[in-house]
Symmetry: C2
């Protein structure tokens, strides 16, 4: 019997149109982290991979009660304004006031998750060949969003105070022309866990002004602070008109609502709104109504207190476990909040290469390379601590430590 | 006192970055229909504008019961697979089998409303300057989606049997090179209400094969048939591999779930899935779970029976009212299903120009021009009959008839 296509297959294939996808489609890549999540669906794997909140903390009973009420309003089941339902926009504006961001609902727009915020902002700013400047490493799906509009991400190194603003200035001075905006996750950054200092934030704003570059400030984790101190968003600083701010309910409430928000100038929001009309018309009024009602009933503050308490314990536990089990030539960050620890292995150890061995030992993480736009970072990995239980954290880090001692010890 | 900017305003403006939006953002236009919907939010206006289902038919009680159950599963509140939750994909595959479309869940992908299906398909196919061929007139937000990727829509005239396939063939023969795909709403088309005959569907498929052009078949209204006969989707015909099919829960269930689906080849779905990763990561697992559960409990069939019965009455009522109240030089379509009547005024009467007068009389419609990619169709309007009550239909058409007699009688 022949190997290869049989006649029927060839006939079927010949019926398909030739490849004539867009230039951007030919550059798209499937996100490594999403593929990985598929692997870890097996229950035997302790996953430190995704950026998942702890599902045992989901406020289900409150949601059930709220859903019962909001679903009896036809508006929750209808089409809704592209910018979001007005009541949630007002509620978000009130939340933001607590973070020092002084806006009305008119400068708040609701999106289908903050991934859509990334998509819309890319859609309105980026032409093929444009550049976005970000921290390096940075959120992998931000790189993906920029790439889907054929733009390149240029990463600026970080130290313990966040993005190195001297290096940013050098870059912009040298070849900033193609840069359309600066993308930053200043607080408890994904993937590094690093927080940008107040002085750096001020300097970043200054540089953005000097070089006339908008700042996109992505802040999914700002509320998840575990050591008391917090640094206010760049968007709360004086003269921050050029900052467009992203927030989301995914990490502070639940991801399944797909409720997030863009806060920006009239002009940016008008463009984003036009882009959203052709992108998904409107976000679900039902999930928006649930988010709005949860916050309006005053339930968010107590929920956040609970998250902070539980995640702080997990953060402490994972740092302690790393200290106990990891070999001395491995380094890691000590974040004051958020969901991630960033681990750096000795040079020459490839975190992606050893992932199959980790999966054999029943643990998963995300190789750090995915977070580098330039393909570097082979010897790094991102470890999530919000999702696993305390027991899983200890057991998982023990297993990872064993592996690291085998390959790097 | 000076007219114009004061000093403070100038200072604020000078802080904003210069305009440096993308080429596509500079071409975006706000949808006329969305702006119109804002106008008609006033309760005094009888709206025949939007494409809204009758909200009094929303199955609220069933939804409340279902929501209570599905919300207790953490998966409904979590991130979910980019392609959609597997159980809904399976459920949709079963629904499609009833329409003669034979696929498994693997060829079904869930989107955030079918507007997102339009966005994703545009994202994977369209480069600036590309052409999409469609019926003329066609769905205005499809034109908007194609435009947002800097592609042009070329409309092919229709007669009572749908798109004129001879004209389609002529166009493709003459200048089909730039055409990336053929977009069609063959059944109870938006905005015209026209249904493509079986013979034309076969011919369309034949032409698409000859010229190697994928067909995008958008079918939001196929289930809403009022006169017994139905024509099966193009996607159900033999050798229809090159057809990518869109369906949605918005018109047959409720729009607020934002649950829709793309049915296509492995290759097209893989590209759409990659595009969706960077667009919104995943659709809401909660709203997907509600849609899935509603269908799995066997509630959809009874719900559809109710919709067909009520909308048939409304369709009959609006045709009767038009017959009674419209002047003889106005023509309109007599659709066998769907939600819209297409009205053609005498040449020289501009439906957009007389809209303010209509609003004064307390009624709203969508001027037909928005549905023409080439800006023609001034003397046409789209009238929705699913949303207004029977009384509103009679009163509204009486008022519209009075206006039409004033301007065109």
């Amino acid at each position: 019997m022949d190997v290869g296509f049989d006649k029927e297959t060839i006939l079927t294939l010949s019926h398909l149109p030739p490849t004539m996808y867009s230039a951007r489609a030919q550059k798209m890549r499937s996100s490594e982290i999403r593929e990985l999540l598929k692997l870890t669906e097996s229950e035997d794997i302790l996953s430190f991979g995704g950026g998942m909140p702890d599902p045992t903390l989901f406020p289900m009973e409150e949601f059930v009660e709220i859903a019962e009420e909001v679903m009896r309003d036809v508006r929750a089941l209808s089409y809704s304004p592209t910018d979001g339902i007005k009541s949630l926009r007002e509620t978000v504006a009130r939340l933001l006031a607590g973070k020092g961001i002084d806006v009305t609902y008119a400068n708040v727009m609701i999106t289908t998750g903050s991934q859509q915020a990334l998509d819309l902002i890319s859609k309105i700013y980026l032409d093929p060949g444009d550049v976005v400047v970000s921290e390096s490493p940075t959120y992998l799906s931000a790189i993906g969003a920029f790439r889907s509009y054929e733009a390149n991400t240029v990463g600026i190194e970080m130290d313990d105070d966040g993005m190195d603003t001297d290096k940013l200035r050098n870059y912009l001075e040298r070849e900033g022309e193609k840069c359309k905006f600066i993308y930053t996750i200043p607080t408890y950054q994904n993937p590094s866990g690093i927080t940008m200092s107040y002085a750096r934030r001020r300097e970043l704003l200054q540089i953005a002004k000097e070089y006339d570059k908008p700042i996109i400030e992505d802040d999914p984790y700002g509320e998840l602070s575990y050591d008391g101190e917090t640094i206010k968003p760049i968007k709360s600083m004086p003269n921050s008109d050029m900052v467009t701010y992203f927030g989301t309910a995914s990490k502070i409430l639940v991801p399944g609502l797909r409720a997030a928000w863009i806060v920006g100038s009239d002009e940016v929001l008008k463009k984003c709104s036009m882009a959203k009309q052709s992108t998904d018309l409107c976000s679900s009024a039902l999930t928006q109504s649930i988010a709005k009602e949860f916050i309006d009933r005053g339930l968010l503050e107590a929920h956040l207190e609970k998250l902070r308490k539980v995640y702080k314990k997990k953060r402490d536990a994972i740092l302690e476990a790393m200290e106990s089990y990891f070999p001395p030539n491995v380094r890691w960050t000590h974040p004051n909040g958020g969901m991630f620890i960033w681990v750096t292995l000795p040079d020459g150890i490839d975190a992606k290469e050893i992932l199959p061995k980790a999966l054999e030992k029943g643990i998963a993480y995300v190789p750090g390379k995915s977070f580098y736009a330039d393909g570097s970072g082979e010897n790094t990995m991102r470890i999530n601590f919000s999702f696993p239980t305390l027991e899983e954290i200890d057991e998982g880090m023990k297993r990872l430590g064993t592996l690291l001692k085998e390959v790097a010890g």
